[in-house]
Amino acid sequence: MSGVSQRVRSLTLPYAFLVVMAVLSAFPLVWIIISSVKPASELASDPLSFFPSEVTFAHYGKVLFELGALRNLGNSVIIALATTVLTIAASTTGAYGIVRFFPRVGQKLTQLLISTYMFPPILLAVPYSVIMVSVGLANTYVGLVLVYLSFSIPYAIWMLTAFYQTVPLEIEEAAQVDGAGKFRIFLTVASPIVLPGIVATAIYTFINSFNEFLYALLFINSSDKMPISVALYSLSGSEVLDWGAMMAACVVIVVPSVVFFLLIQRHIAAGLSEGSVK
């Protein structure tokens, strides 16, 4: 009997702590979703009402169609997709190359890559500004995509080397005996084995470039090319804030991000805690 009650007591504290943490963690997400479907009058009159008295999608309609956020959302997707495709192309080959052909210097090479993590984004912003203006890439998708490659490729290579290292050499040698070339082995033998890792890396790259703010703020200034993050920011400065519309926009941005993140979080954690330990 006393054993049971002691066990219950020893579990009360962890559970209580976790419940409090869960409420604090999830509340902002829940609250912006609730706020995005409340009628404007209720947003302004009753800040503490938890459940909306009536559900409306007017805020979504306003932000997407009247305020043109659909266009900005499209810009974000184009920029993030282009970044992801180029990143995966350069870092699957790069990671595979490091693992297979440069195993001795490979570790130093990936460490060197990941040390670029130390460069403050604001440090790179100055030379990027100068370069963009001088080569005419300011205010273009291409310019922004190039800048995004600078932070996405090192991280993607770091994640991917860990995956390619798990591919058994014997399988590749068998393909080699059959007469397949290096690139063919990479494409049809090694990469399919690590496909889940490639997908996780691609999703992570996509989310990161979709969410990026500083460089987008600095390098895109025409509203028809703005990604959604900067469009929202510029909207907030203009006039009296329409909080309902802002919350609807936030939900549109954050919900896919949260879903994808939960799907791949184990892979990201693995990349972060292992890569440079050795």
Binding site: I32, G94, P103, L123, P154, L169, K182, S236, E274, V277
Partner: protein, 310 residues
């Protein structure tokens, strides 16, 4: 990916064809190397170069000014105020994230049921993009329509709705708490992974020998998670120190400069005052400071590793 898989892979695996074809293996790593050189090494070099010039955002020509920028920045009270804000913001954020993240990981490790559910709920903040963190919290804290100020007045904890982000003596603390909210899941997930490597039998043996939970934590758990925690601390310290978006979107550096960190100060100098040369100087000093702290921290982690190896 487990530790063992990774270390198995790092064993040099020299294939026969690696020698046969010398050119094509370089083609594999060429795109990545070109990107890193062109988009990282060259810009960092050019930042250092610009730090010694009077480059203006809207002017083509510029002149060398020697160490004038450095002398100006290092004697400016605004720089030192931003520097100390940065230090406070970084240390406060990291300690908060570490302590709460560690406690959450220990709690998750302890409970027998609903681990998956709590894990998912606790990870949510990590998935928030900066722009949404900014607007979601500004909405919750809004002094007219916000949930939190209204809750405080309803509960009788404050006389009127307070503007927590708009008052200079509270803004810094609020931004700090929001950053702790955002960064804690990352610590939690990584520490949880490290806790799984703590051998059960050692714990049991220590329990048999009569070691209390504090002692077991100190002598068994800590040594096993030390390395991961150390690495996390270094990487996250760098990240928090460099972070621009969170503070910029929550307060813009205000009110009255109370949340102006170094990246914000550099941004204001470069894109507010168009002084790119001066902004470069600030960012180069930022990098130099990080390199100093980072090198020291990595040395410490390496020492822990060699102690482990013995």
């Amino acid at each position: 990916m487990t530790e063992s898989q990774r270390s198995a892979g790092t064993r040099p695996q020299v294939s026969i064809r690696a020698r046969k074809d010398r050119v094509s293996k370089y083609l594999f790593i060429a795109p990545a190397i070109v990107v890193v050189l062109a988009l990282l090494v060259y810009p960092v070099g050019s930042s250092v170069f610009l730090a010694f010039t009077d480059k203006h955002l809207l002017r083509q020509t510029f002149e060398f000014v020697g160490f004038d920028n450095f002398a100006f920045v290092l004697s400016s009270p605004d720089f030192w105020s931003a520097f100390s804000t940065s230090i406070g913001w970084t240390i406060g954020s990291i300690i908060g994230q570490l302590v709460i993240g560690f406690l959450a990981a220990l709690a998750l490790e302890r409970i027998p049921r609903m681990t998956g559910l709590f894990r998912v709920l606790l990870i949510i903040p990590w998935a928030f993009p900066p722009i949404v963190i900014g607007f979601a919290w500004k909405w919750i804290l809004n002094d007219v329509y916000g949930f939190f100020p209204n809750l405080l007045t309803t509960l009788g904890l404050s006389d009127e709705n307070i503007s927590l982000l708009g008052t200079s003596h509270t803004a810094f603390w609020v931004v700090l708490v929001i950053n702790i909210w955002f960064g804690t899941p990352l610590f939690m997930v990584n520490i949880l992974a490290a806790l799984k490597t703590v051998p059960r039998d050692q714990q049991e043996a220590a329990r048999m020998d009569g070691a209390g939970s504090v002692k077991r934590f100190r002598f068994i758990t800590i040594p096993h998670v030390k390395k991961v925690v150390g690495l996390l601390l270094v990487l996250r310290t760098i990240w928090v120190f460099n972070n621009f978006e969170l503070v910029f979107l929550l307060t813009g550096g205000g009110p009255a400069g109370s949340t102006t960190t170094l990246p914000i100060y550099a941004y204001r100098t470069g894109w507010g005052l168009y002084q790119l040369g001066l902004a470069s100087t600030i960012t180069v000093l930022l990098l130099a400071f990080l390199l100093l702290v980072g090198t020291f921290a990595f040395k410490l982690i390496n020492r822990w590793e060699s102690e482990d190896a013995r």
